[in-house]
């Protein structure tokens, strides 16, 4: 028997055990139902302990549906990717109170898009890196996961349909006296945590350059994940966490009654100093999905369901007026 024949045989043996541990990351049955008229009823902002669920009835739109690739139509499901493993970021994308279903404004928007397209949503959680690979390999039809449009990602083979802007904010410990006064000068001598590879990191680096020109310091710290960042903030190793505003508001609320409460210390436009950063639904380039997804998003915007989802999560400030296909992205790092 050739060697290559033996390896799959061994793998087959493994697969048997695999079913024991098959990890349920599918959609919770309660989030989407079908009413008597065949419309999908999507319950958004369900499965959390900080929002009030809202039921939205969504009729499928045949004109948009007609633009879907045949393979997706035949399959009847829309595989929606999320990148919240191991860490989610509430209220955007995280595991809900049932401790297993991917929840948040991102996956809810994905469910609504599926409803407009007349497809059954299949929400899958993945690690951040894996989400991109699986989107590119076509395993995920579309990923909703607070993904910023960048020129670099366009080059890597992705299409984008934008649906949200991100506003940034500053988080400090509750007993801190620091507040953002609208000017980068207030960071002098501070240690600031920021997530790597983000829009806000670029802004922070610019501020540091300016401060250094004035002979002042600004120390930037990157942590492996959000949990580590929050621990560093609580222990006083960093003074400020510069992050998306919704996450900060949410975390401040979550820590209210814990030994280490935090608070928001001001916000800042995600436009930064150069260009408005946009969050977008991400598909494999030229898969034929980006246009119908953008159309569905625009349909939701026009019908007001979009505003209701954002309101349910307290994110109305991040609303856009139109979904665009492949809008200008953050330029490739030139620093």
């Amino acid at each position: 028997m050739p060697l290559s024949a033996r390896i799959p045989a061994a793998l087959a043996a493994l697969t048997v055990t695999a079913t024991l541990a098959a990890c349920g990351s599918g959609d919770a049955p309660a989030a989407t139902a079908v009413d008597a008229n065949g419309n999908q009823v999507v319950t958004v902002a369900a499965n959390t302990d900080f929002t009030t669920p809202v039921q939205l009835t969504v009729a499928k739109v045949d004109a948009i549906r007609a633009k879907l690739p045949k393979a997706v139509l035949d399959r009847g499901t829309l595989v929606i990717g999320g990148g919240a493993i191991p860490n989610g970021s509430p209220p955007l994308n995280f595991i809900g109170t049932d401790q297993k279903t991917l929840t948040g404004v991102e996956s809810d928007l994905g469910r609504l898009v599926a409803a407009v397209l007349g497809l059954t949503p299949d929400v899958q959680n993945a690690s951040w890196q894996n989400m991109f690979v699986r989107t590119k390999s076509g395993e995920f039809d579309v990923s909703f996961s607070n993904i910023t449009v960048t020129e670099e990602r366009k080059q890597q083979g992705f299409d984008f349909a934008s649906y949200r802007e991100d506003n940034l904010g500053f988080e400090v410990n509750k007993d801190s006296t620091w507040n953002f006064d609208g000017n980068y000068g207030s960071f002098a001598g501070k240690t600031v945590a920021v997530d790597t590879g983000t829009n806000q990191e670029k802004i922070l680096v610019e501020w540091r350059t300016k401060l250094q020109a004035e002979g002042k310091t600004l120390e930037i710290r990157n942590f492996a994940d959000r949990n580590a960042t929050y621990l560093a903030l609580a222990s006083g190793r960093v003074d400020i966490y510069f992050a998306p505003n919704p996450s900060i508001a949410h975390h401040a609320k979550k820590t209210e009654s814990t030994p280490h409460p935090s608070r928001s210390a001001g916000s800042f436009s995600g436009a930064g100093t150069t260009l408005q950063g946009l969050i977008a639904a991400t598909t494999k380039k030229d898969s034929g999905l980006v246009q119908p997804v953008a159309d569905a998003l625009n349909h939701l915007i026009e019908n007001g369901q979009y505003a209701k989802v954002l309101a349910a999560y307290g994110l109305s400030d991040e609303a856009v007026t139109r979904a665009e296909v492949n809008p200008p992205g953050l330029p490739i790092n030139n620093s």
């Binding site: 990890c23 191991p86 690690s127 949990n227 280490h260």
Partner: protein, 315 residues
């Protein structure tokens, strides 16, 4: 004459005569008692600090410790560790034997394997395997480089669980190979000579003579490796599987007010699993020490019973 000058040795001899049947009092070690007491006080202090610091939020700890989602993660950790250890060891033994063989091709292949898989970070290996579908969409069964009989869609065959086990096993085998090889070469060369002088068949020489002796040297190192693996499974999150640490991380990111108690939940479970492994290691070592020590050490249970007997508590 005797009255004039008694021999000077006389009193000393008396003393020796009296002492020869006297018991020896061992040297007292008061500082040992002091050091012991200090250690106990420090330990008590640490325990007190751990229990009373409200940062640990022991009520939240209690809530999460037996949560089904944590249990699922724990089960996955155990499955990944168990399968990774078994397949890794099988692969490691094969690689070690290849490395020790007289066939230069096998030696080189084994060396190359160990070199490659010790160099590739586990997380990269797992990411690569998880997304092998992007590189090879079908795997086939057939003659090497020739026609294939059956084809599989890579996605169907390589579930994430399989990917994780495969990645951990490939990685583990490289380390196990070196541990097994070290065990085998620690066995005296004369053992093989004696076995072959008796005309024992080659496989018997290894199975009956070399491996049992090598195992003694292998166990402590492999136990170390196993404990590494147990905690190393946490990188499988990259394949989108959530084992114990992944679950703890995910839930902490949703419940960001409970990061510390959730990390403690993970830690305590790892402590429990490591302890169980250590106990298993102790008894395995004891089993394989047969013949290596003049007397096999007593088990803790046996020592406890002996102590009780000597105190007259039990018989």
């Amino acid at each position: 004459m005797t009255s004039l000058s008694p021999p000077p040795t006389r009193p000393a001899e008396d003393l020796l005569g009296r002492l020869k049947s006297t018991k020896v009092v061992p040297l007292r070690h008061p500082w040992r008692w002091v050091a012991g007491a200090v250690a106990l006080v420090l330990l008590a202090q640490a325990a007190h600090a751990l229990i009373t610091n409200d940062a640990f939020q022991w009520d939240a700890f209690g809530y999460w410790f037996f949560r089904p989602v944590v249990m699922d993660g724990l089960l996955l950790t155990l499955e990944l560790t168990g399968l990774g250890a078994v397949f890794g060891l099988i692969g490691g033994v094969a690689l070690a034997l290849m490395r020790l063989s007289r066939n230069p091709v096998l030696r080189a292949v084994s060396w190359g394997y160990v070199w490659v898989f010790r160099s590739i970070p586990l997380i990269v290996l797992l990411l690569f395997l998880a997304n092998v579908t992007a590189l090879y969409s079908t795997l086939s069964l057939g003659i090497p480089f020739g026609p294939s009989f059956v084809e599989f869609r890579a996605n169907d065959l390589l579930s994430f669980f399989v990917v994780a086990v495969l990645g951990l096993s490939l990685h583990e085998a490289a380390y196990a190979a070196e541990i097994v090889r070290a065990g085998i070469i620690s066995v005296d060369q004369g053992q093989l000579e004696a076995a072959s002088a008796l005309g024992l068949p080659k496989t018997r020489q290894y199975r009956r003579i070399i491996l049992p002796q090598a195992t003694r040297a292998i166990i402590p190192n492999y136990a170390n490796q196993l404990i590494n693996l147990l905690k190393g499974t946490s990188v499988v999150y990259i394949t989108s599987l959530l084992e114990l640490f992944g679950v703890v991380q995910t839930q902490a990111s949703t419940n960001s007010g409970q990061i510390i108690p959730l990390l403690m939940v993970g830690t305590v479970w790892y402590v429990i699993l490591t302890s169980l492994l250590s106990v298993a290691q102790y008894y395995l070592e004891r089993h394989f020490s047969r013949g290596a020590l003049r007397t096999v050490p007593a088990t803790p249970a046996q020592r406890f019973r002996a102590r009780m007997r000597s105190l007259g508590v039990a018989r």
